[in-house]
Symmetry: C2
Subunit: 262 residues, 2 copies
């Protein structure tokens, strides 16, 4: 049983990528009572992340996927130290992917977009610096409006386009060759992102990369075989625009259960 | 001592209006750990509102102002029944103002903008119907992106203008003569709102109206005399863009204290 958590529904995009590749039931927890994490403090996010992990373990999860960049940035390493089961975050896989891409493709400058707390955490810079030294320059841009826009369902909206244009201005000036989508919501506006940043820019998507890494891990360790593909969704509060978001992500309706009401 | 609470920093706009008119210290509590309330469930907001009220009472507040439309909509009447001290919400004063305005000005159609939960609560329609029957038609529009835009500091930004244009489209079609700003953040973009909705539309601002009502109440009951005008700010988590928002609202810096860390 794979436990996946996020501050809200964005992590379902990660869950969907996992379901595509892995035969296992997924337990999903969205901490909608505290959503969004991206503008909350480090201390708060550490606290929330720990609670979410413990809830999933209690429900039977044997592997945890931190499907939220803000949680991964702030609490990922802490959770890995604290719990004995395998814990995957959404940051390491994308940094590893950047490493492999840089071998075949000229990448000297990489842009990273994310929530304010993810960007402020410095996690991407630190991890990239550890691998590449000063070989790759990192340009950061916090995009606090992107999640609310996506949750409003304005996926192809001209306002979203306008906001991206403004957010990408500094990155385009620097002519970054790659762009890390440092928030699990962002793949939903990948088309618009490509259009605004330029089709030649290599897009690195954390949702897809963590699913690939997990698939490889399970195969190497021969852990899961032919179990049922299904997802159980738990939320700490009713999810805003839940049906709309589920339809955008899964193209079909799914039910959910409100637990642990605050 | 007047206790004022909100989900975040928007209620400081109410606090500022109160400070303009009343000689009393203010205790402010912003529940930034759970911000925003506008997309959370009724149950969650009832729970948060009760905790906020009890915190302020414990700190010495003798009067409570619920400086959040979502809390007022969902928990206002509940809090008034539960606690014995005077409790003011931000909805009644603006509905009363509408009543007085309608005596001197032709108002048959009123638009109301607010967060999704405030709009969904039906509180404004119910209160207006109680006073006016079917004499005034109400048109509602949830504006979930306005708070994030304001908190980003995009007060005069073309994106904010574009978003308002889209949100106001149905209200303009109905030719509403008045518009209730059903969220304490919204006065910060009043200029843009007026421009987009039309200068002739009567704008009813809940922040100002609750301050006026409180001033009148204190005068009538001769409660406060020449005390110190000051504000103490407590937050349940670091406020995103705190310094920027404080500067926008008060035009000067103010400190704050993080309490009760979750």
């Amino acid at each position: 049983m794979i436990g996946v958590f996020d501050s809200g529904l964005g992590g379902l995009i990660v869950a969907k990528e996992i379901l595509k590749r892995v035969n296992s039931p997924i337990l999903y927890f969205g901490d909608t009572a505290h959503l969004p994490y991206g503008t909350k403090s480090k201390k708060a996010i550490l606290n929330f992340s720990q609670k979410n992990t413990e809830f999933l373990i209690k429900k039977g999860a044997k592997i945890i996927v931190v499907a939220c960049n803000t949680s991964s940035a702030v609490a990922g390493d802490f959770l890995k130290r604290k719990y004995k089961i395998p814990i995957f975050d959404v940051i390491d896989p994308v940094v590893e992917k950047l490493y492999f891409k840089s071998k075949t493709k000229q990448i000297k400058k990489v842009g990273i977009i994310g929530t304010p707390t993810t960007i402020k955490s410095g996690i991407y810079q630190n991890k990239i610096k550890k691998i590449f030294g000063n070989q790759i320059k990192v340009y950061l841009k916090a995009c606090p409006l992107l999640v609310p826009l996506i949750e409003e369902g304005w996926i192809y909206h001209k306002v979203t386009k306008e906001v991206l244009k403004e957010y990408f201005l500094p990155l385009k000036k620097k002519k970054t060759e790659a762009l890390i989508l440092g928030c699990t919501h962002y793949p939903l506006v990948k088309d618009l992102i490509l259009k605004e940043i330029g089709e030649k820019v290599e897009i690195l998507d954390s949702a897809k990369e963590v699913a690939l890494k997990l698939e490889k891990f399970l195969k190497n360790n021969k852990i899961i075989k032919e179990k049922k593909k299904e997802i159980k969704i738990f939320l700490s509060d009713e999810g805003y625009n839940f049906e709309k978001m589920i339809k955008i992500i899964f193209k079909k309706p799914l039910s959910h259960k409100i637990i642990n009401p605050l």
